[in-house]
Amino acid sequence: MDVLIFALLTFLGAVGAGVLGALLGLGGGIIVIPLLTLLLGVDIHHAIGASAVAVIATSSGAAASFVRQGLTNRRVALFLQIAATLGAVSGAVATGYVGGQALYLILAAVLTFSALAMFRRRRGESSSQVIDHPWSARLRLSGSYRDQVEGQVVRYGVAGVPQAVGVMYAAGIVSGLLGIGGGALQVPTMDILMRMPVKVSSATSNFMIGVTAVASAGIYFARGDIVPVIAGPVALGVLLGALLGAPLMVRLRGTAIRRVLILVLVVVAAQMAVKGLGLIIG
């Protein structure tokens, strides 16, 4: 394949990853890695390096809109970030002591459970009915944003803070052990446990994954896994996609975002299950 065609295909795929990433707050890895390895024959290490760049590009591209619009709850993001990053450090330290295949299967089960839990309350709920957890009141985690579809200011409380901290730590361990971003677990945690509006959960997760990916992207760069001709088109495409996806997310109804999110969670769960079973069989 001509390198120009490779660069164009990578760029176009990355635009799609950027749109979906800005919409759901999951990061672009679930699209970028299969696109590069399975379709374009890129070495897995170079694909993972490009994926870390893609996550940062999605996060910054989307946050540039979401922070200004008040969708990103930076207080929740930073508070949860401690648990998530400490978990990731624990996970990275524990690599080599814990087997991978069982973890993939556990992750698949957790993601399936999250998708089911989100499906059960797929219509969402009035966020004004959520009673603030005492920790949230103390740390002033609750917030408000103007919903452009409903045309009104939505104020929301934040519930289940200690449980969310626990889950974030566990999710951090899993992402540290398996080297995958925690975004797929962050959004369901904020949705199901903390009962935040889905747009706020997505925007807040988007902010978090960017910060998490800084350390991993720096490490991949130092290892020589970030290659200009691969990561460059990925970065440009994802940035364009995130710039297109951010206004789209703002204009969509929360229920529509939930539906796409549930679908993607099921797909990621299937990916993880295949990896877990494949490793056991192989």
């Binding site: 609750s142 917030g143 104020r155 409380g157 990916a213 200009p228």
Partner: protein, 176 residues
């Protein structure tokens, strides 16, 4: 400094009596009202304005993205132009094997700067990618500054911890 209105504590005697009145009435709606008064329940409706700090963060992110994508785009164009100037049909593998494609790959900011001095297009792409990678750190630092100015010391500690853990895992991983 700007405070979140959502959890504004109830003021005056009405605020202090709110829960008591709610309890005395024993009605569910009254109890909800009391919870809203006490700031435990999100209040529907209210003020809506972009705070200055959020505009600053948003503009900083946008600036980082613009600089990064300009550098990456220019570097990529030069890199591909260089690859096609040879005459043959370059593939991903041939570009990866060539100096333009980043072989040997640059692994540190110092190496990128040195390669920039030799006008290597891959160093231009790498410089853009490095700008992109540090962009989220800028929003962390601005958040830290905001909490410091608002004397919100709990969040100064929280944001500092995030910065320290990020820097620590970056150094630990890069050295390994």
């Amino acid at each position: 400094m700007a405070q979140r209105q959502a959890v504004a504590p109830p003021t005056g005697i009405a605020g202090r009596l709110g829960p008591a009145i709610g309890w005395a009435r024993r009605g569910v709606p009254a109890k909800r009202e009391a919870l809203v008064e006490a700031g435990r329940l999100a209040r529907p409706g209210g003020a809506d304005r972009a705070r200055p700090i959020e505009l600053v963060i948003s503009r900083t992110l946008r600036a980082g993205i613009l600089v990064a994508s300009a550098l990456v785009a220019l570097g990529l164009v030069l890199l591909l132009f260089g690859a096609y100037a040879g005459g043959a049909h370059p593939t991903l593998a041939s570009v990866l094997a060539s100096a333009e494609g980043g072989q040997p790959v640059l692994r540190s900011p110092a190496e990128v700067i040195t390669a920039l001095g030799r006008f290597e297009p891959n160093a231009l792409v790498d410089l853009g990618l490095l700008v992109l990678i540090v962009t989220p750190v800028a929003s962390l630092l601005l958040s830290w500054l905001q909490f410091w100015l608002e004397r919100d010391y709990a969040f100064v500690v929280i944001t500092s911890s995030v910065l320290v853990i990020t820097a620590g895992s970056l150094l630990w991983g890069a050295i390994r």
